[in-house]
């Protein structure tokens, strides 16, 4: 390969600045002494320039907007296509969903027919046990629960209220502990904590509206998570409540556990709790009614009959 061939092969890359410095030096060295290659370089540069300068047609100034509009329309037309499968799937799913829903009742009936005798038996046992236990046993249970709760919040109860206000912003668990601890703590401690809260809150430059404001804040905030976690407990307490009037001996601490007392400002949260308790009670009542209905139904010869009904319904719905 001659020096000219080697240079001409790389002349475009040289013009485009795509050669290494070493190559560049060698090409320029050759061009300096070769008129033919120099001419070619000029012609290549000129023709490239002509190509690059060739103007484009005059495009409409809104052509990009038009394109975006066309793309939108086209993609909107296409979108129903993949969703067409999805839609078909949805229709199928809706059909399936209907079938499933139709299946739920017969299936539930079957399950109950099988399960109710067992439930009924245990129900009888439980009822008799409850009769035997109340009221002393319930009181004992309540006491156990109260101690269990009192043990958990202890570290937080020892902590001063202002720290609790920090804790309320931080993990809900601690806040919960504080909320539980506050009513459970000895009544004498509460004013002390509130007073301390006042001192610290003014020192911290917080709005001093009402002496115990920060501590109340803490409690109000703390009630929220506490409310959720206490829901189960509240349910248990609600169940105990019918027996409560009879239980004069229930320790004061247990009563304090239902977070109504001493601290007033949390009333919003408390009324929410009340509503929840009421809802839980209503649900309990419904469940009990259902169970007793099924128990009655299951007692007679209803077993065979209801399963027949179920399978007939199953057949028609299917």
């Amino acid at each position: 390969m001659t020096a000219c061939d080697s240079t001409r092969k790389r002349l475009s890359a040289y013009l485009d600045g795509e050669v290494t410095p070493v190559e560049c030096a060698s090409i320029e060295g050759h061009l300096a002494g070769c008129a033919g290659c120099r001419t070619l370089r000029e012609e290549l540069a000129r023709s490239t320039q002509m190509l690059a300068n060739a103007p484009e047609p005059h495009w409409a100034s809104d052509s990009t907007d038009q394109l975006v509009g066309r793309l939108r329309a086209q993609l909107a037309r296409e979108r129903p296509a993949p969703p067409a499968h999805a839609m078909a799937g949805q229709v199928a799913a809706a059909r399936d969903g209907f079938n499933w829903r139709a299946l739920v009742l017969p299936l539930a009936a079957v399950v109950l027919v099988v399960a109710v005798p067992g439930l009924w038996m245990t129900g009888v046992r439980r009822e008799s046990a409850r009769n035997a236990k109340a009221p002393g046993a319930v009181a004992a249970d309540a006491e156990k629960m109260a101690t269990a709760r009192a043990v958990a919040p202890e570290p937080a109860a020892l902590a001063p209220a202002p720290q609790a206000s920090l804790a309320a912003v931080a993990p809900a668990v601690t806040a919960n502990a504080v909320a539980v601890a506050a009513p459970a703590a000895a009544p004498a401690e509460v004013p002390a904590q509130l007073a301390q809260g006042k001192e610290n809150s003014t020192a911290a430059g917080r709005a001093p509206g009402g002496g115990a404001a920060p501590a109340k804040d803490v409690l109000a905030k703390a009630e929220e998570p506490a409310k959720m976690q206490d829901a189960g407990l509240a349910g248990a307490l609600a169940r105990l409540e019918p027996a409560a009037p009879k239980l004069a001996s229930v320790p004061a601490r247990v009563k304090a556990d239902v977070p109504t007392p001493t601290v007033q400002p949390a009333s919003g949260a408390l009324s929410a709790l009340d509503i929840e308790i009421a809802a839980l009670e209503a649900r309990m009542a419904r469940v009990e009614a259902e169970v007793s209905a099924f128990t009655t139904a299951a007692r007679g010869d209803a077993h065979r009959e209801s399963s027949q009904v179920a399978s007939r319904r199953f057949a028609t719905w299917r």
């Binding site: 001409r8 002349l11 890359a13 190509l51 005059h58 296409e78």
Partner: protein, 201 residues
Amino acid sequence: MAERSDREQALRDAARTDEELADRLLAGDQEAFEVLVRRHHGRVRSLCYRMTGTRADAEDLSQETFLRVFRHRETYQSGRRFRVWLDRICMNVCLTHQERIKRTGPIVRLGDRTGELPAGALVGAAERQDPEARAQMNEMLKSVAKVTQDLPAQYRAALVLRIFGGLSYQEIADVLGISMGTVMSRINRARIRVRNQLKDL
């Protein structure tokens, strides 16, 4: 208020890189897609025009390019340069179009014959004032356009990407899926062909 937040959104989108927008496009975000279309339409259309030589084809093929961008968005690999991916789609669209034309013959549209430049195509040319010079210039431009069209498609693609796309040789190699050496030789051969045809002008 809504107008203002639209405007803010537009400004935020304008500040995003192609690759950020392409990541959103991957997730099917049509707004990001439209920002990318607006950003690259001019360039893609220009590439299509240089590849096909006609205005109507350029408009059709640039639209086809963006449709493919959206339809095949999942083929974009996050972290890769969006422009290389876009140009590859664009070149595939153009080359497929050339293949089709080669098989079935060109689609002749009214007033849009291959290589013809519409009246008033000269932008910023001093010759615009002088009819004779303008005619001469127009002739020359037609020849230039024809020269480009006469190149083998693969040579034209490399040359168009270099001259009108402003891509480096490495980027051209990535777009066309060929080696740097091949890019270098194709561009060089294309240039020499063009020079041979334009020598007399």
